[in-house]
Structures are given as C-alpha cells and as structure tokens.
C-alpha cells in the first residue's frame, strides 16, 4: 500500500510541473499589491538606524547594538571577489524601512490585518490563514486538520504580519514569532544568541543587515522537544526602491528537532532591489535543524532589466556534540545571488549537509555554495550541488571545506554537477579545500555536461513538447536535492524548475 501512495505522489508531482509550465507566464509572482506605504527617508545614517529601532519599540541595548554595527559598516567596503558582474550599488538611494500604513498600529491578531495583504499571500498560495481558521475562529484549531500543518510567519517588505498556529506551538514550548517581538519579549534569548553565529562585523552585507534589519523570524525549540509542525516564513518585497533586510534567528536546544521552510517572492520592477538577509542557527547537543529555502525573487526580464540583488549570509553553528544541520536550497530567482549557507561543525560528531539547486537563466548570475568548517573530532559533512545555466547566465559553485587540526577523523564528500542549456551560458566550480590534520578525508567530484539532445528527442518522440522535455530532464538531474526537501516544498520546487527554464530552448 505504501508503495502505491509513494508512486502516486511522485507522479502527481511531475504532472504538476507540466501543468504549471503550460499555465503560467514567465514570472507568476510579478504582480504588485496596491497598498499605502509608510517609508522612512531614503538612505542610511545613524538617524535611520535609530528610527528603525524606535519603530520596532526596541530597548536601548538593541539600538546600541545596531549603531555599533552601523559604525563598523561605514568603514567597510563591498566584497567583489565573487564571479558576479553588476554596477555599483548606491546605498544612499534605497529606502531602508517601508511598512504598509495599515500596520502602523500593530494588529493584535490576523483578523485585524489589512485584507489586501492577506489576499497577497493567498495569491502566493500560502496557507497564511488556514481555511479552517478563516471559517471558524478559536475552536477551529482544535479540530483535526486533514492536511499537514505548517505554521507561517509572513514578512511583507519590512514588517512581519503575524504568525499562525502560535498557541499550538506555545503548548509544545516552541517560540515562533517575529524577531521584533522576540527582542521585546524574550530579550535574554536574543541577547545571548543574536550575533553569536554571524557576528555584527562578519562581512559587509551582514554588517549592514545588523544595523538596519527591520524584521524576520525567531524560533526557539526547548530541550527534548520535537517541533510539532513545520515552521515557515514567507518573505515578499513589494515597495519600490526598498531594500529588504530580514534577520532570522533559530535556536535548537539540546535534543530538539525543527524543520524550517523559507520562501521568497517579489514583484516585477525595472530597477534592481537589494536584499541582504542574515540567518543564524544555533544547534546544541543532539539537536537537529533542517532549513529549506525556495528562493524565487524576481530574476529580471529576458534582457537583464530589473531583478533582486540577493546578498545573504546564512550560517549554522553545530555548537555541541552530535548537533546536526541540513541546508537545502532551491535558488531560481534573483538577478544576482551571493549566498553561502555554512556549517560550523564545532561539537564532536556534528554533521552538516548542504543540498543545492541553483538555476540561472537569461542574464541571471549566481555565485553560491557552502562552507563546511570542521572544528570538532569525527565530524561529517556532505555537499550535493546541482547548477543549471541557460540563456546567457553565469552560475558559479564556490565552496570551502576546512578540516582544522583538532577535527581528527572527519569526513567530507562533495559532489558538484553542472548542466548547461544552450551555448551562451557558463558554469564554474571553485572549490577551496584545506586539510590540517592527517586522519581526515575529503572527497570532491565534479561534472559539467550539456543537456543531452538524445534525451530531449526521446522525450519529444513520446509526445512532450520541448519545454516539458527540458523540465523533465532537468528535474531528473536535480532529483537528489529535490528529494531532500519536505514534500510540499518539493512540489513547488519542481514547478519552479520548469518555470524558471521557460524560454531557455528553441
């Protein structure tokens, strides 16, 4: 019986892909929500930093923390070592704070949220107000749901709109709330962990984020608790010329487990928009965190106009023994992607895994990969990267595997495959390997291939059109990574693979 269900679902998944390809325009999430916005003046300076802090009703220590970051940031310069080509960014020509006017007085519950905002998330297919809760109100949550529950925190431009299933999570002792709220209500946790994985002055973008981040999600899972549902955050940039700087902090206490999903979209704009997020994950003894991302920011049009500049710092610290983290990312959007979710394997026998699909089409550029920093004994890491380039896109895998002297008997396995569609795109692999002890082992395998004409013809001779054939073959190429995603996300990711390759053939 289980076998039937399994096959059923897999097949459904692929049918979905095909339908999606046929039914969708090139960027499905490109509409704009007409909402009155409240902007801070353009540019960044100490006053803006204070203003953001004040708008979030933050305590003094937080304001100081931000100002400290800001003062460091003005002394830093933007890194340019990545294989990315883009004009200089004018950091004073951006808005650093935007929020829908209706959020000025914070809503006490989702019911008080502007329906236009909720409609936005509905269009995105997010179960923000799960059907039942929508219909019923309080009692609804007790009725057993047929579908698997996912708690959602939605961030719109700079502001978090509200978190669902909060009560049910609270019963398990899990804290899942906007980080702005955590700063006010759980200052001891925030003080202890914020900046402990990605320090304020880590890099240019992370430092800017530390100064101006407006919101994001906060998760704390107490010792021994298995989080009763998937947690998920949806980020959406809506306002024009607005940077989005969200900050996520996840703490998995001893022996706990949580799976966290992150999705992103943005409307079509002619101008580039800046996104510089920071994600910090702290994992204590025997705890495990799965962090999955489907990044679908607006990639720009066929001529390379517009699109999000995505400069993101994500890092997990497996701080104690047997801590485990798994990053899975599907990166299909953004004009520029600069992103290296990393694992610090500090505790003995800690494990880090990184599964990645990066698709770059038209004029997109992606420079992405991971860092596996082995500090503890008997630590393990595994990297599976699938890069797909089409159109005139450039796709670079950049990865570091570092075995420190104390990380004896540690292992890394890296597999890095690139697929080229057409002959104007490029794929690059830049692995850095440092091994400072004699008992550890690092394996690296890399392949680069063109999408196979015989495979495409075989599919087409069976009735699939060219785009369906490419989507099928590419989904096959990515299978290992798709399988690492939670089922709901795997379906979305498969359709995204198909959509983002539209127009790459013929």
């Amino acid at each position: 019986m289980t076998e039937i269900t399994d096959l059923d679902v897999r097949d459904g998944v692929d049918r979905e892909t095909v339908e999606t390809v046929q039914n969708m325009g090139s960027y499905k999430y490109g509409w704009n929500t007409e909402i009155e916005m409240d902007f801070a003046p353009k540019g960044v300076n100490e006053d803006i930093v204070r203003l953001i802090s004040q708008k979030n009703e933050e305590p003094e220590w937080m304001t100081e923390w931000r100002l400290d970051a800001y003062r460091r940031w003005v002394t830093m310069s933007e890194p340019r070592w990545a294989m990315l080509n883009y004009p200089d960014i004018d950091y004073q020509d951006q808005y650093y704070y935007a929020r829908p006017k209706s959020m000025e007085v914070k809503p006490k519950s989702l019911d008080e949220v502007d329906p236009t905002l909720l409609a936005t998330y509905e269009k995105l297919g997010i179960p923000l107000k799960e059907q039942m809760i929508l219909a019923g109100v309080e009692g609804a949550e007790e009725t057993p749901a047929e579908a698997r529950k996912v708690a959602v925190d939605a961030v719109f431009d700079s502001v978090s709109l509200g978190t669902t299933f909060k009560d049910e999570l609270a019963k398990a002792g899990v804290i899942f709330c906007p980080i702005s709220e955590a700063i006010r209500e759980h200052p001891e946790l925030v003080k202890k962990y914020l900046g402990s994985v990605v320090p304020q002055s880590d890099n240019f973008f992370a430092t800017l984020n530390s100064a101006v981040f407006s919101d994001g999600s906060f998760v704390y899972v107490p010792p021994g608790v298995r989080c009763p549902m998937e947690l998920s955050t949806y980020f959406r940039i809506n306002a024009e010329n607005t940077g989005q700087f969200e900050r996520t902090l996840i703490i998995a206490d001893k022996g706990s487990y949580v799976s966290y999903l992150e999705g992103c979209t943005a409307p079509k704009r002619d101008t580039h928009q800046l996104h510089a997020a920071v994600v910090e994950i702290v994992i204590l003894e025997d705890a495990e965190v799965k962090y999955s991302t489907v990044q679908n920011w607006y990639p720009g049009d066929e001529e390379g106009k517009g699109g999000i500049y995505n400069f993101v710092t994500k890092r997990a610290d497996c701080r104690e023994a047997r801590a485990k983290v798994m990053w899975t990312q599907v990166e299909t959007g953004s004009a520029i992607t600069w992103k290296y979710p990393s694992c610090i394997l500090r505790g003995e026998e800690a494990q880090g895994e990184f599964y990645s699909i990066a698709i770059a089409n038209n004029f997109q550029q992606a420079d992405t990969g991971t860092k596996m920093i082995h500090l503890g004994r008997n630590t393990r890491s595994r990297i599976v990267s699938k890069g797909i380039s089409a159109g005139q896109a450039q796709n670079t895998y950049r990865g570091l595997v570092s075995m420190h002297p104390r990380a004896t008997n540690s292992r890394n396995y890296t597999q890095c495959d690139s697929l080229l569609i057409g002959d104007k795109c490029g794929a690059h692999t830049v692995p850095y390997i440092e091994v400072k002890n004699t008992s550890s082992r690092v394996e690296h395998e890399a392949t680069t291939s063109k999408v196979d004409d015989d495979q495409l013809f075989y599919c087409r001779s069976r009735g699939m059109d060219e785009e369906e054939a490419v989507a099928l073959v590419v989904n096959g190429f990515c299978r290992e990574v798709l399988q690492a995603l939670p089922m709901e996300f795997a379906m979305e990711a498969q359709s995204l693979v198909a959509i983002s390759l539209e127009g790459s053939v013929g």
Partner: protein
C-alpha cells in the same frame, strides 16, 4: 496510412547521402517488415520519420494519413499517432520510468484535446500492461532505462508503445538482444495491438521475430532504397541465403 515517396536524405553536418529515393506504403491494418544489411539506412529512415535533428531531406516526402509528417515537430508526430521503438533506447537519469510514461501519455492526450488520466486510472493501466510484458514494479520506479539490461530496455519500449496506443508503430530491431522467452512476450504484445486501423513497420535482421509476428509484406533495403518487395517468403530467403543474390539481382 504511412506513405513514403522518393525520400532522399543526407546528413546535415556532412555531405553524406543516406537515403536515395526510398518509396514505401503501409496501408492501415498491415504489418510490413524491413530487412537490409548493416548501414543500409534503416535506423536513419526511422529517425527521419520521427523527426530527429541532424538530417536534411533533399527530395521526396512522407505522409501519415495524408498529413505531411516532415513538416511536424516530433511531439506533433507522436500526437498524430506515430511511435518509434528505438534501436538504442535512451537513458534519462533521475526521471522515474512511471513519471516518464505518465508525462508522455498525458502530453499526447492533451495535444489531442482529451482529458488527462487520473493517477488512479494511470496506475491501473500501467500495472496491467507491465504485467503482460513481465516488467516488475521495481523497473517502473527506476530511472528511465538506467541500468536496464539490453532486453529490459526493449521490453520497456514495447510497454511505452502499449501505453501510448499509437496508430503507426515503427520498431527498430526490437528483437535484437531479446532472449527466446522475451521475444515471445514482445511478439504477444505486438499481436495484441494488431487491429484494422493500426499498422506496423518492423525493422529486423532475423526471420525469427517474423515467425511470431506474421508480416503482410517484406521489403529489402539496401544503400538507402528499397530494392525488393515481397511476401513473408522473402524473409525466409534472406535467412537462408543472405543478401547476396538479391543485391546482385538489383544490380
């Protein structure tokens, strides 16, 4: 059903002529066999008919039910009812055999304006047909043709054919590499599909398959053209005597 008229084909990339005025007609409901020495152009013919890139038609043409085949995209030909069982089936890593089949079946149904099969209907159908060809559940789950034995690949082609129910089936050396029992399974599969409005073009080197699938007409292809056409006895003659006499007879 299938009409090929004075077909001349050369390679796109180089100045090499492969088909030199090939003409052939397969009426509805008939089974025609094509035999011919290695390199005579049999596979090239099947590829050109199904729309593979890399060939240039310099003269002549081909129609299916009166429609100009050569003007259609490969997927349009498939939707129109043409099917090629490949001499060398292609491997597609990471794509489950079942997913592939279902995508293909539904793509064709969609192209023809028919409703797609639900996953329940599809599963039932594919299980029944796979069973007839002794293809087990494991082979249905595995990636398309990856790690399949030669004979398994050929049976898998016939499974696709049975699922897609084409009207014009071209089989390029489906019998090569099959053991005696598998050959019988494949032949049974083909015979079960035989009907008044379905035709077959069976490319083979051996009389053996034709014992199981009785052809109406046998053609001998040499040097890119049909040099002799006859009844089933022609295949027997080739089996016993080789191509020598037939070739010299044709000059």
């Amino acid at each position: 059903m299938l009409k090929i008229n004075n077909l001349h084909v050369k390679l796109e990339e180089e100045d090499k002529q492969i088909l030199n005025g090939l003409s052939l007609e397969v009426p509805a409901g008939q089974v025609h066999a094509i035999m011919g020495p290695n390199g005579s152009g049999k596979s090239t013919l099947s590829y050109v008919l199904s729309g593979r890139d890399g060939y240039e038609v310099t003269e002549g043409g081909a129609t299916l039910d009166g429609r100009d085949l050569l003007a259609m995209e490969p997927e349009e030909r498939a939707a129109a009812g043409l099917f090629l069982a490949f001499q060398y089936p292609v491997e597609i890593p990471g794509v489950g055999n079942m997913t592939f089949l279902r995508t293909a079946v539904n793509a064709q149904r969609k192209a023809r304006g028919e409703e797609e099969l639900s996953s329940g209907e599809f599963l039932k159908l594919v299980r029944a047909k796979a069973k007839d060809l002794q293809i087990d559940a494991d082979m249905l789950k595995r990636p398309v043709n990856v790690g399949f034995s030669g004979g398994e690949k050929k049976r898998n082609e016939i499974l696709q054919m049975a699922m897609l129910e084409p009207r014009m089936c071209i089989m390029d050396e489906t019998d090569s590499g099959l053991d005696v029992d598998a050959m019988r399974l494949v032949a049974d599969g083909v015979n079960a599909l035989r009907s008044a409005d379905r035709s077959f073009l069976v490319i083979t080197h051996y009389q053996r398959l034709l014992n199981h699938i009785q052809p109406d007409v046998v053609h001998i292809l040499s040097n890119g053209r049909i040099i002799k056409t006859g009844g089933p006895e022609l295949a027997l003659q080739v089996e016993e005597e080789g191509y020598g006499d037939i070739l010299s007879e044709a000059g």
